[in-house]
């Protein structure tokens, strides 16, 4: 891995590295000689030498004279000796002189024709003598525009120039010249050397073309790609001559400072890269230093060097703000999710993965400490149990959720709402308890005129009720009928839960997701509880089949996101409605195939942002987006809070998913996680009756005792009993309601001569409460 540069991305290869590296000196001193890159030595050493020399000269003058004579004579003879040794070595080496091939090149009208056995090529040369010192253009686009079947020659020659010579030849503008002259000689040299030296440069391009037609396009392509004046076609004769004698013209016409040159050079490999396979386009801006990512997914890929960069992933904040995982095959998304979940578990976050795709079940293999549930198999979701959502809100939401099953808009289904409200309010109910107040009941009312006006449940309500029936009489029964196996809030206590929703019907699955989202939205905000929805069918709004659901979906998504960290995985980002996708701020995307998906992802990944990048290029690239279509396996594009724009990431290897989990004792382990709640709720300071009745304790006991003896007793009798046994006026309704809500008494009915009477009887809980009360008294 290369060293990061302070300024921008790192070149594939440091051009200075090619110079022989001598020794490494670490110095805190800033006085570094540019030419030798050596650090100036400290003064102490020369002073010591000087002092010794003075001592020697003073006390041993003869010795010093001898030494001087030896050194001077060595210097005198050294060039002669070395020249002679060089001549000897050349003489000893064996050089073979090759005869140049003849008749290979022949001049035509416009081009130079190269013949090699059966291959003919037209050669055309272009040279650039006076480019400006800022060379605009794109080498990449140039290369693309050329037919490079036979390759082409690009020659950039450079020669170090002496600044004095340049000034003398009046080749720079006078104002600059004045400035340079004002610096003085040493100042001028420092100025130049700080900027990488002054080079005279020459560019020559020779294109190899198959036919004559391409000649004109070649020239046009070059002019278009490097839009600078000064391109000049090399005379055919001249070109032939140069090619024949392999001679280069070292005329120095182009001046470039070192850093300008480096820009030229470092572009080259990355520009070439996309042309070779599906490499990362250089338009991506990869981070060059590690951004604090809580949940690493892989390493960044430098689009210019294709070398891997720092570790990247999502921060916790990304998840809190909503994260989308999209694109790719199932395996790809599973890999990303596995990496994410693994990181989450490592950070001791609690994770609930709800997957609509049973193939993701093996994600449970990430850890031993997992609860695997399947809706309809070991998990029952009770639609009329609002969990923690306030009833007033819940019923309205439930109706919206039912719309998918009803296949219709249920707004205004008043009877349905009343029925649901009642069922939800009673508590301890299931979907089988939902029903209307029968219209015929009203027929009993004495006025016959009323009967004609009695409102029968509206058609909408009937349609809605049919949808509810599906949930307990139809195919939805196995998933939705029954008491909820686990209260939603208990999920927040389990370290890792995998819940599979696969009911075999789009409508039911959608409903299940709706319901889960409603219930999850009712949980308290908990930043350490991460909910991951994989392929949530209910958020699919693409083909507008259920157009009336879109506001509902968006509402739901907003609520779920408000609760806490949220990750949504979906193959097609275009499936979401615009407002839903707008809720997700970070994204990791694997390969996308459909244009609509790409369009969505581009926005989310921030790829179409027009911005001036590091290399003075306008960052509006269609190539980034096209890269989304060809992302190779094991790579993805990520957009997180660290970099606003998406960049490629090489994903880590998928973790081992084979952790053995025993599915048999799910209930037992569930109990472990949920016991803490039960214990706390069962700890009571007062008796059950006191708990239920509060200040109506005495009345409660009295009613229970009465029922113990005479159950079932009609409602009228119980009321009369309460009202006659007390002096003050108690709230009879409240007492009965409390007893009934506390499940101490059960309302029933009996018929006498065809008239129905409501009656009350003790429940088992009521009997036990009485017994408990009796025991308390005994104590």
């Amino acid at each position: 891995m290369g060293k990061p540069l302070i300024l921008g991305s790192e070149p594939e290869k440091d051009p200075l590295e090619s110079r022989t590296r001598q020794s490494m000196i670490v110095s805190s001193d800033t006085e570094i000689d540019w030419d030798s890159r050596s650090v100036e030595q400290k003064w102490s050493f020369p002073i010591l030498i000087g002092f010794i020399t003075i001592l020697v000269v003073l006390f041993q003058p003869i010795l010093s004279i001898c030494l001087t004579i030896i050194i001077l004579s060595t210097l005198y003879f050294l060039p002669t000796v070395s020249a002679r040794r060089e001549i000897d070595s050349i003489r000893n080496s064996q050089w073979i002189i090759l005869k140049p091939r003849e008749n290979i090149l022949s001049e035509t009208d416009e081009t130079l024709l190269y013949r090699d056995n059966d291959d003919n090529r037209h050669l055309i040369g272009l040279e650039l003598f006076e480019p400006s010192n800022m060379l605009f253009g794109s080498l990449g686009s140039m290369i693309r525009s050329l037919n490079t079947d036979h390759g082409f020659v690009l020659r950039v020659s450079m020669r170090l120039e002496s600044i004095e010579e340049v000034i003398n030849q009046d080749r720079i503008r006078s104002n600059k010249e004045e400035y340079l002259e004002s610096l003085g000689k040493s100042g001028r040299h420092r100025f130049i050397s700080v900027r990488g030296g002054l080079w005279s440069t020459y560019v020559m391009l020779v294109g190899h073309l198959r036919d004559l037609h391409s000649v004109s396009t070649f020239e046009a392509a070059i002019h278009g790609a490097v839009p600078t004046s000064g391109w000049k076609q090399i005379e055919n004769k001249d070109l032939a001559k140069r090619l024949t004698i392999q001679k280069s013209d070292y005329l120095s016409r182009f001046y470039a400072l070192g850093h300008e040159l480096s820009e030229w050079l470092v572009q080259l490999p990355s520009e070439l890269a996309p042309e070779v396979g599906s490499n990362v386009p250089s338009e991506f801006l990869s981070p060059i230093k590690t951004i604090a990512s809580d949940y690493p997914l892989g390493v960044a890929v430098n689009p210019e060097t294709l070398q891997t960069g720092p570790v990247v992933g999502f921060s916790h904040n990304d998840l809190v703000n909503g994260t989308l995982v999209c694109g790719g095959t199932n395996a790809e998304r599973k890999r990303i999710l596995a990496l994410l979940i693994q990181a989450l578990i490592a950070k001791e976050k609690r994770v609930l993965l709800i997957t609509g795709n049973p193939n993701y079940g093996d994600l449970a293999g990430l850890t031993e400490n997992v609860i695997t549930l399947e809706l309809g198999h070991d998990f029952v979701l009770n639609p009329v149990d609002p969990d923690n959502v306030p009833r007033t809100e819940y019923v309205g939401q439930l109706i919206s959720a039912l719309e998918i099953l009803a296949g219709a808009d249920l707004t205004g289904a008043a009877d349905l709402e009343i029925a649901l409200n009642r069922t939800v309010a009673i508590g301890n109910t299931t979907v089988a308890d939902v029903r209307f107040d029968t219209a015929e009941e009203l027929m009993d009312s004495p006025s016959i005129d009323k009967t004609s006006q009695t409102t029968k449940p509206s058609n909408k309500s009937l349609v809605g009720l049919d949808a509810v029936r599906l949930l307990h009489e139809g195919s939805g029964a196995r998933a939705f009928y029954g008491t909820q196996t686990i209260p939603i809030r208990d999920f927040t206590k389990i370290p890792y839960t995998v819940l599979t929703i696969n009911l075999g019907s789009v409508e039911l699955d959608t409903f299940a997701f709706d319901l889960l989202m409603m219930k999850l939205a009712g949980l308290k905000q908990d930043s350490d509880f991460v909910v991951i929805f994989n392929e949530p069918l209910n958020l699919v709004a693409r083909n507008r089949r259920h157009y009336y659901r879109i506001p509902w979906i968006e509402f739901l998504a907003k609520r779920v996101k408000k609760r806490g960290p949220l990750v949504v995985a979906m193959e097609h980002p275009a499936d979401f409605s615009p407002a839903t996708i707008g809720l997700l701020t970070s994204c990791v995307s694997s390969r996308l195939r459909e244009s609509v998906d790409v369009k969505e992802a581009v926005d989310l990944l921030g790829l179409s942002v027009i911005q001036t990048g590091m290399h003075s290029k306008a960052r509006h690239s269609s190539r980034e987006t096209s890269f989304l279509r060809v992302i190779p396996d094991g790579m993805a594009v990520i957009a997180n809070t660290g970099g606003e724009l998406g960049y490629p990431v090489k994903l880590n290897d998928s973790p081992d998913l084979s952790e053995m989990t025993s599915t048999t004792d799910v209930t037992k382990r569930l109990a472990e996680y949920t016991t803490c709640v039960k214990e706390s709720s069962s700890r009571k300071t007062d008796s059950l009756i006191e708990h239920v009745m509060g200040r109506d304790y005495e009345h409660g006991i009295a009613v229970l005792r009465l029922l113990q003896r005479y159950e079932p007793l009609t409602q009228e009798a119980v009321r009369k009993f309460i009202s006659t046994t007390t002096d003050d006026v108690p709230d009879i309704e409240a007492i009965l309601m409390k007893l009934e809500r506390g499940s101490l008494i059960l309302k029933g009915h009996e018929i006498h001569s065809g008239v129905s009477y409501l009656n009350y009887r003790l429940t088992m809980k009521g009997t036990m409460a009485l017994r408990q009360n009796g025991e308390d008294l005994m104590k």
Binding site: N428, I448, L746, S753, S756
Partner: protein, 735 residues
Amino acid sequence: MTTISDVPNPIEQILHSAGIKPRGVQKKAIKAGIYDGKSIMVSSPTGSGKTLIGEMALLRAVLSGKKGLYLVPLRALAVQVASVLKERYFDSEISVGLSTGDYHTDGEELSTYDVIVTTYERTDSLLRKKTSWLGEIGTVVIDEIQTLAETQRGARLESTIIRLKHLIPEIQLIVLSATIGAPDELAEWLRCELVVSNDRPIPLHSNIITTSDKSNAVKEIVMTTVQSNGQCLVFHRTRREAEVQAIRLSADVGRQFTAEEKKKIDDELGSVVNWDVKLPAGLKALLHDGTAYHHAGLNYLARRLVEDLFRRGMIRVICATTTLASGIDLPARTVVLTSVKEPSNHNQFMSGNKIHQMLGRAGRPGYDKRGVGVLLAGSSGEADVIRRKYFKTSSVTENKSEILQPKYDRLFSTLNETNAVTEQLLVGFDMFGSTTVENIEQSLFSDSFLMYCSIRDTRSPHRILQLDELSSETAIERHALQDAIRSARQNVLASVKIRESTDSVIGGIVTGWEGGNFTSRFSAKLSPDGTVEGPMCSCGIPFDSNGLLCPHLVALGFTASKELGTLADYVIPLALSESNPLGVLTRLGLIEGSEDGEYRITHLGSVVNRLYLSIPTIREMIALLPFTSDVEDLLWLLRHLASIETGSSLDDSYENLVAGVASTDMEISKLAESLELHVGDAYGLLETSRWLLSAISAVSEIGGFEELVQKSTNLLKSLDNRLGRTTPENQEDEE
């Protein structure tokens, strides 16, 4: 006039002197041995002269020095029969007595009569009181035996028949029935010779009309009939509907009458004979237009007047409730049924027998060539249901029309009903003294129609009766076939996943062996319409017409019983509305355990039994008596009990009525009117109050509530003073 035998029979002589000659079905009955004291059962359509067969048998008993008992279901009918008998046999010096209501008296005063006309309930009450003259009975005529299939009354009737047979083994039973399904079964149980007659004097054409506007359809039918000089009977489910319909029709019907005809009606209404008749406001105007309504809320005289006017053809249309349906012979050319649902429960269909009895009134002998019965249905779906439920159809190919033939229901015992079993168990303990439950089951219940049916019927549940301890399994055994239970025990019926198990509901998903998942649940919860939800199953048929649970529910029940134990024992019996009769009686202190697992009736129990109180009534009574201190509370309790007994929801006006009658001199009818009560109802309620007051007084005495005894006796006395000498004609029936 010819006699049927050469040697004149004394019975026929008496009949002859009354101007009666046996014909048709009566001849068949004679042939079957009615004069020889044989028990027979007659099943024939209304108006074919069944009553006369009963009279013939009664005459036989009287002539042989025994007493005759004539049982009818309604007080009104009893009054009618008694007056006919009195009139007819006055010359033959046969004394006819009438006893209805008065459950608190022992009926010893009736011993002087030769023939006693009474209701089923009064007979039951006399039997419970072990009245002395019961042993002298030779013949019992039971009219309208199809009442056996009615809840509570049916059970009491069944028990009465069993005990009558126990008491007098050689008794002659004459059982009269409208046309019913499978009459031979009933006859066999009663050990009677069956005489069936299906002859109708006038052919009947039934028709089902689908309409969305029933009121308009009724108008069209009625007007078509009236315009062709016919009469029309329109049956309604509730009183209010009947009244409103009569008002709606009156203007149109009235237009068909000439001024002369109207004057005739007015003259009749104003005549001296009808001075006593107090018509409710509005009815007079309706009668003027040749229309009337008719229900149990009218007082007896008013009803008689309406019936009389109709019979004489002076009025053309009666909008009635089902009161008119049984017994009272009032034919018309067209009979319209606006609803086929039970008056008491709009969810329940009326029995086919009831429907056909009403339709059977169509066609008046001597006036019409044919009768037309019309059933109105609100939708074609309902029409289909009605057609399938009540008719056998055979299509006529020529004109693609259908011929509807009445389909009669078989009778089923209602003794199985929870409260009925409990009550009859108490009766059993009173009858046999200290005994075991098994003993009662064998001696009392084994003779019942219930047992007879269950032996005869292949689709009767595994367990017919459950008199003591009740578990979830026994509760299910009462509602499942033996095979289903056996396979459920072996776990081969279905696989069950319990999904909900709360204090009131046990439910689960049942995977049947034939495949498919069903959601089944036993719910003891109350549905919004106020009934216990009971068993439910997504297969759509939680229980069939025999009350048998679907296999899914059986499987669920047995699994729940295994997995949930006591919870299932609590919920499932509740959901199936099963209870433990012995437990109820013990808890209420009506019986007590004695040695060797035997039980005996307590003093309270025997008093309750003789007071003829139903189990819920006595339960409410003894629960509240300790908290009843002043008259106000007493009146409230009275009202509460009266509502339970009469099956009507009473409001404050009841208390005002009782208090008013007891403490003021205001005329009862005026008082009732001021309280917006029907006079007929007011009398009925006062009768019930007297009975209940004496019951309260008796029970309070046992409980030692001296003050309450005093108060209730005082109230009873003042009521007796006002009602004591009222003529029986003023007493009203129950609907």
